[in-house]
Symmetry: C3
């Protein structure tokens, strides 16, 4: 019997949406699902390695976007961001209530064998390279490959 | 024959997205689908009972978020919010055109037997309790239970 | 054998999300998928014909929303919009890297035989008519019809 499958297109770079994506992913993986996450556009932020966080991409414009995106530590909330104070409150709430933080969720995702993929097209647009990401990224793929991987399961766009 | 199934993860608290979620849900239920809605994060707003609307959650920080979230009557639009005027225009448009308003859609959802669930983790983070929600909420559940309920149908993240 | 199916509910009018929607849709269609896109709310922006772009809808309020929505040429980014400069940077990035622009993606979608549908309810709320859209729109449909069309495939809410 093939295992149940959950595939997530992680488009958003918002802290709360990424948290939701990883919570769903790890919850699914922990109960036996095969889970794929396909990071695209702003979602690529979640899988940047620390080294690559400040000067990402080549060319001036991608670099501007890269600095704006910044990585997990500065990911904004989709609501109530208040110049970055919102995510800090949220993060502190999560800690206080013993809920896993986003960094822990990324780590847990890797440990649970969730397959992480980076979107080739978005990397191309934003001037990002394979080296800008954490080594746990399984592959850089395009839409057709992602569709083939997610076939027969549930797919969410987050 | 098992009935067709639609499951919605209602993450957003935006007035327009909640309207879209409930329109899809009620449209599906009216044509024989079994429908689950799993409210999480800002989406929990849609199912708060009036009583619980001002002083929700325990502790200062959750209370701040609670006041900001406010409930259905003040749910913002994802675009063109203009300090709350946008939703009012939208609401008046909906009324003028005889489209169901969000409150009516929530009510219709309950009458159509749509199963409403609240996300345990998000309630924990935001300091919300079972009593803060309308009694029509079927259960407080986690991701694994939601995945089991939605298995074999279509699932949307809104 | 029935072909694989991908259905997209295009709710957002954001430039980056519409780009993601069309990239997924065209990528799927190019690899043999049957693809449906159901434009609703702000997503209706993507299929407005040029002629209909300034004075859309009847009545004052819908007209205000219509002008605000504006059409593809002024679609905002979901992040880093900066009063419209963001999308221009993004667009120029996309051109520089030889990625299809949004207008090209809409055109490609039509050529690849992707089925485009407009949401009746949202058109009603926003005061839009069939003539406001590009002729490639296959039909104006409601939720039940969309659900029937998308049944048995993967469905994304973008």
């Amino acid at each position: 019997m093939t295992p149940k499958k959950l595939s997530i297109i992680a488009f958003s770079g918002d802290f709360d949406k990424l948290t939701a994506a990883f919570t769903l992913a790890t919850g699914a993986a922990a109960t036996g699902y095969h889970v794929n996450i396909f990071f695209t556009f702003w979602g690529l932020d979640a899988i940047k390695c620390k080294r690559g966080r400040s000067p990402v991409g080549s060319g001036l414009l991608p670099r501007v976007f890269g600095i704006l995106m910044g990585g997990l530590r500065v990911a904004p909330l989709s609501r109530f961001n208040f110049c970055g104070i919102g995510p800090k409150i949220f993060r502190s709430l999560m800690k206080k209530r013993n809920v896993a933080t986003l960094e822990q969720l990324v780590e847990a995702a890797c440990q649970l064998g969730i397959h992480l993929y980076a979107c080739e097209m978005a990397m191309n647009v934003l001037g990002l390279k394979r080296e800008d990401f954490i080594p746990e990224i399984r592959d850089v793929i395009g839409v057709p490959t992602f569709l083939a991987l997610s076939e027969g399961g549930q797919t969410l766009f987050i």
